[in-house]
């Protein structure tokens, strides 16, 4: 019983971390229909800039802020220079964002050097405590909390404000939205910036979790995020959250009970979902 609870909590934390990663992608891919292969690049930049500030100042929160700011700035630049010319064209999006991914990944080494960097949780989130026989790791609880917070926040913004509608409408028919007097370019840029900031934030949160960050981690995690977005049903936040948690839990339990298959967990899960529920777990209506 303890074992199951402990596995579940840790799986949940991993799931939340993956969700944070996927959230930005869901926003950009789900709402704006942009295949952003540079998502991983934004993620890495968030991690490196955040950790750099964190190590410099010793203040974790400042690190988080730095990551978010980095994400916003990079998001604005990316949207303006890279994404704007290719809205609506998946093929061009793939090429141009992959190009950007290479540039971002390599620039990391110019700015921060080629070596991997280490990061530890801040003192107030370091370590673990026992609850009965169950070990609770503080940093993981923190991740779970942040995940819930981000989920609630985005759901609120998308459901309770007109922004979500405008963005979705803008993707379907840009000209029409403009004809309704909405400056869609501005809205798109804002959304992209938020998506990028989410990527950057998750990069920063990831750093103390895994202990090290390195320039190449971007693509790897971007693929994971991509998988989660697909399993969850594209563009659905609820779906992404659910899928991410599913992936996290499956990983945890498979690693314990069927270790031989643990390498293949993600892919098996995705194959199963595609075959049995091709629209994803939560199909976006329409």
């Amino acid at each position: 019983m303890d074992l199951i609870v402990s596995l579940a909590i840790n799986g949940l934390a991993t799931g939340m971390l993956i969700f944070l990663l996927a959230a930005g992608l869901t926003l950009i891919f789900g709402l704006m229909d942009v295949l952003n292969f540079a998502h991983g690049g934004l993620f890495v930049w968030g991690a490196f800039s955040g950790v750099w500030v964190y190590n410099l100042t010793g203040n974790f929160m400042l690190g988080i802020a730095a990551a978010i700011v980095t994400g916003l700035i990079l998001g604005a630049i990316t949207e303006f220079l890279i994404i704007r010319p290719v809205y609506g064209n998946h093929i061009q999006q793939i090429l141009i964002t992959l190009g950007l991914m290479l540039v971002l990944g390599e620039l990391i080494k110019v700015v921060f050097g080629p070596e991997q960097k280490s990061a530890v949780p801040p003192a107030f989130l370091d370590g673990s405590f026992m609850l009965g026989d169950i070990i609770l790791i503080k940093y993981r609880l923190f991740i779970i909390a942040v995940g819930i917070f981000i989920f609630a926040l985005t759901t609120f913004i998308l459901k309770r404000t007109r922004i979500g509608l405008i963005v979705r409408a803008g993707v379907m028919n840009k000209e029409m939205v403009q004809s309704l007097g909405i400056n869609i370019q501005f809205v798109f840029m804002a959304v992209f910036m938020v998506g990028a900031a989410m990527a950057a934030l998750s990069g920063m949160l990831m750093a103390p979790y895994s202990g090290v960050i390195y320039a190449e981690m971007g693509l790897e995690f971007a693929i994971l995020a991509f998988i989660v977005v697909v399993i969850g049903g594209m563009g659905s936040f609820k779906g992404s959250l659910f899928a991410a948690i599913l992936v996290g839990l499956t990983q945890a339990f498979m690693a314990y009970y069927v270790p031989a298959l643990s390498l293949a967990v993600n892919m098996l899960l995705m194959t199963a979902v595609l075959i049995f529920r091709p629209e994803g777990l939560f199909k976006v209506k329409g």
Partner: protein, 392 residues
């Protein structure tokens, strides 16, 4: 391409023994390393070490047995295809007399058959796969780097003893599995018992389940073989493994990874190299020169390896009196001993693997750095860490 365009495209299998005249005075060495990509840091250590090694071995003259030494570095980008292409370029267009490399086992394996084809000596450094001097061995391959089995033997020597129970954690890959197999053999030879073998997805972020199982097997030691991006150290600490009476042991890698090992302070393990460990002239020279040339930086994990490779080549040339034919060199190098930053190394005649010292250490807090450093327990002698011969 050089002037001697004699249609090598067809006659390549004849190899390059008919070199042009200019090589009469020069010895060319081609070094393959990952100078970009994920293993960039390693590749660059090798390069620095190699350059320093030539300087040291030739006393700065860059000449041996009357011949000028010329080095060409090529980036393999950690891609076997690129590695092979660059190697062909070195062998064909540059007519190199030696190949050195490379940072990854895959790159190296893609190149070793070329060494045979071109009858050119290749000094492998620092790729670790056993198969390079094992199942994929050929006569032209010499390795100054240590292989996985040596690591395993050293790891076992550091902790294994009569009646000790050890659990292992390793990535679920050939590297991890072979490593554990070798470790198991060495450890059981020393009388220890392997209580549990745990393999984890190297890309995973969560190791709770794996650690949980290890705890359940109630070992005295947890021996970790790890080479991967995400490190398990934090989680091992968070899961209070040590508090439950299980000691951790592992190989200590390069300086950049030391800060991540903070949670493991006090553990007993081994390492291939840390600049503070070896006690010999070559190493003193290396540390001093390295600091001078590179802004006060100390040599890292693979720097001495690069240096050893360079020294072994110069040494071989000295012994062969400048003769670069492969036959002669193989004869010279088999069984050859030379002084390296890690003490005396010897190319074992059977599989051309250099036997070398490794270091049993404990990880301790240091006053100079804000990360822990390995402190010498004892030097594991070349004889002690000699791996089994596997090339038949």
């Amino acid at each position: 391409g050089d002037e001697d365009a004699s249609g090598e495209s067809e006659g390549s299998s004849n190899g390059s023994d008919g070199e042009g005249e200019e090589t009469a005075e020069t010895v060319k060495i081609g070094v393959l390393a990952s100078l970009t990509g994920a293993l960039e840091a390693y590749g660059k250590q090798t390069r620095k070490g190699f350059e320093l090694g030539l300087d040291y071995a030739t006393d700065g003259t860059m000449e041996v047995a009357g011949k000028k030494i010329e080095v060409v570095f090529e980036d393999t980008e950690t891609d076997p295809k690129v590695a092979r292409q660059k190697a062909i370029g070195l062998l064909e267009d540059e007519n190199v007399d030696f190949l050195v490399g490379s940072s990854s086992s895959g790159d190296t394996l893609a190149v070793t058959p070329l060494a045979e084809e071109y009858e050119t000596i290749m000094v492998v450094e620092p790729a670790v796969a056993d198969s390079i001097t094992g199942s994929e061995y050929n006569d032209y391959i010499f390795r100054t780097g240590r292989n996985s089995s040596q690591d395993a033997v050293a790891g076992a020597a550091a902790i294994a003893d009569e009646g000790v129970k050890i659990a292992t954690l390793a990535p679920d890959s050939a590297f991890g599995q072979d490593g554990v197999a070798a470790f198991k053999e060495a450890a059981t030879d020393l009388g220890a018992e392997i209580s549990h073998e745990e393999y984890a997805d190297p890309a995973a972020t969560d190791f709770t389940a794996n650690i949980q199982k290890i705890i359940e097997s109630e070992p005295d030691y947890l021996y970790v073989i790890w080479a991967g991006a995400n490190t398990p150290w934090n989680q091992i600490a968070d899961m209070k493994v040590q508090e439950q009476g299980i000691q951790i042991s592992t190989g200590v890698a390069d300086i950049a990874t030391l800060p991540t090992m903070e949670p493991l302070v006090g553990m007993a393990g081994f390492t291939v190299y840390h600049h503070s460990l070896p006690d010999n002239e070559v190493n003193d020279w290396l540390v001093k020169e390295h600091k001078e040339r590179f802004d006060g930086e100390v040599p890292d994990l693979f720097t001495p390896g690069g240096m050893s490779a360079a020294i072994s080549i110069v040494e071989a040339l000295k012994n062969s009196e400048g003769e670069t034919s492969a036959d002669k060199l193989i004869e010279t190098m088999e069984g050859m001993s030379f002084e390296s930053p890690k003490g005396t190394m010897t190319f074992r005649p059977e599989d051309h693997q250099a036997l070398q010292s490794l270091y049993a250490v404990t990880l301790e807090e240091s006053d100079e750095h804000d990360y822990p450093i390995p402190v010498l327990e004892r030097v594991l002698t070349p004889e002690e860490t000699a791996p089994p011969i596997k090339n038949n």
